[in-house]
């Protein structure tokens, strides 16, 4: 269970002339929970989006479960972008939860959760429905199955989004500031759902500023700033005795 699930090597990403990622190295082992922190504009969300190829990288390599994401290697060693179909299949085993939930507003909660496996994996509708109901139970929203997302609070929407991602049986879950768009009193329910998920042994990469969450469930905390990883380590040491001045500076602002 401890083979690396994510292996990012020297990842570079530019938007036109602006270099957002300047050589990121990060390895995440199976079952590990990694929290990425950093000031806004540091590239953490972009890095997360590179991990499932929502953003193309300019150089470097990203392996998920032992194969390149978004690219295949030519005999001469160069990386060639994969077809839309292949990339889609690779993404199917990487769950992602967004800051703005991004539930599909034209579908009920249960349709949101059951449609992706039906479309993408060809799961039968009855199996997908049962699984969706189980997942809604797991995130504590079984009674909301037939409701449209607009009727839910932000916290509830985010829990549905987590259930929707889990419905694909991903090997790893990416969280992109999952609580940043929530009213303060709704943050707890989402974090509780994520903690419960971490206890099941799910491999998780979370971009978040929730220090409590990081200290309680993370195996590792990472600080990104200006497109590079500045510091990484066990949460206890990371929060109480940071080595790097930029980490100290950042933590002083959020603690």
């Amino acid at each position: 269970m401890n083979a690396p699930v994510i292996k990012a090597e020297d990842v570079h990403k530019r938007f036109h002339s602006l270099e957002v990622l300047k050589g990121i190295n990060l390895t995440v082992d199976g079952g590990e929970v990694v929290v990425i922190m950093g000031p806004s504009g540091s590239g953490k969300s972009t890095f997360l989006r590179c991990l499932n190829h929502l953003e193309k990288i300019n150089s470097g390599r990203i392996e998920i479960n032992g194969h390149f994401i978004g690219y295949r290697q030519a005999p001469d060693g160069r990386l060639i972008e994969e077809s839309d179909r292949k990339v889609a299949r690779q993404r199917a085993e990487i769950g992602m939860v967004f800051q703005r939930f991004n539930l599909f507003p034209h579908m009920t909660v249960i349709e949101n959760v059951m449609l992706p496996p039906v479309l993408v994996k060809g799961t039968s509708r009855s199996v997908a429905r049962q699984r969706a109901l189980d997942l809604l139970e797991q995130v504590g929203l079984p009674e909301k199955a037939d409701v449209y997302p607009a009727k839910l609070s932000g916290g509830q929407q985010q829990r549905v989004a987590i259930a929707r991602a889990l419905a694909m049986d991903p090997k790893v879950m990416l969280f992109d500031e999952p609580t940043s768009a929530l009213d303060p009193e709704l943050v707890g329910e989402v974090l509780d759902t994520m903690k419960a998920l971490a206890k099941t042994g799910m491999t998780m990469v979370c971009v978040t500023h929730e220090v409590g969450f990081a200290r309680e469930v993370a195996d590792r905390a990472v600080l990104m700033d200006d497109g590079v990883v500045v510091e990484e380590g066990a949460p206890e040491a990371f929060f109480t005795a940071p080595q790097h001045s930029r980490t100290k500076q950042f933590l002083s602002k959020i603690l």
Partner: protein
């Protein structure tokens, strides 16, 4: 004649005689037919054109931009004549083009459809681009291909934005069919009115009858439109979302539940 004289001279017997006569019922039906065919064809053509216009590949984008530039930048009447008379001239009228060059109804409908496609392209493009990009991110992250994301996530949401202005286009189209009068061979409402008054000089009566028929057609379409707008004009709330679901199944035939 002074306006008052026209009014006093109004031949109400003639007016009522032709108002609901078959002489105008058939043209009215033809107007409805051409409207439905040309507008629907315009919508169907508009979808691929909109995708081409949104494409980053200049091979798709430039021809579409050129098409829009031509069809939105020249008068519709000119386009009608171009397709009816111009095609015949341009290709020396080979028999294969007879269905267009010798049939004013077909040529006119084609011109209206091609012109409308240019306007529908912009309506559809605006609708597709109004869908939150986060929706596409979510669909992709779940493993959907671009096509699946388009079909199941983007288009159903875009339809809610596209439908109301599209219906407006049906109403405009019903009035634009009158431009076919320029070809002289389509027995639509305005042509029929002209035919009557060129025979007996009862201009006011004949045009009034045509006007009443246009009003009947556009009022009928407006009625349908306002009931549709009630459904689609609402904000992105639960009810509208539910109805979009209904329309999605209706229009895309994805009747699975």
């Amino acid at each position: 004649m002074t306006p008052l004289a026209v009014f006093l001279d109004f031949d109400s017997t003639f007016f009522f005689q032709i108002l609901f006569s078959t002489a105008f019922i058939w043209p009215a039906l033809l107007v409805i037919e051409i409207t439905l065919v040309a507008q629907t064809a315009g919508i169907i053509l508009g979808f691929p054109l909109a995708l081409g216009r949104m494409s980053r590949n200049p091979l798709f984008k430039l021809p579409v931009d050129f098409y829009l530039w031509i069809f939105r930048g020249t008068p519709l009447v000119l386009q009608i004549l171009f397709i009816y008379d111009g095609t015949a001239e341009l290709f020396n009228n080979p028999p294969i083009l007879y269905p267009i060059t010798r049939n004013a109804v077909v040529a006119g409908t084609l011109a209206l459809a091609l012109n409308e496609a240019a306007y529908m392209t912009e309506i559809i493009r605006a609708g597709l681009q109004a869908v939150d990009p986060g929706q596409i991110d979510a669909a992709k992250a779940l493993g959907m291909t671009r096509l699946q994301a388009m079909r199941h996530i983007v288009i159903p949401q875009a339809l809610r934005i596209i439908v109301p202005p599209t219906f407006n286009e049906y109403i405009n189209m019903s009035k634009n069919t009158s431009l076919l009068v320029i070809m002289g061979g389509v027995a639509e409402l305005l042509f029929t009115a002209q035919a009557f008054y060129s025979a007996n000089y009862r201009v006011f009566e004949a045009l009034a009858v045509a006007a009443i028929w246009y009003l009947l057609i556009t009022s009928f379409l407006t009625q349908i439109q306002s009931s549709i707008e009630k459904r689609f004009g609402e904000r992105q709330d639960v009810a509208a979302a539910a109805r979009t679901g209904f329309l999605r199944r209706l229009m895309l035939g994805g009747g699975r539940r």
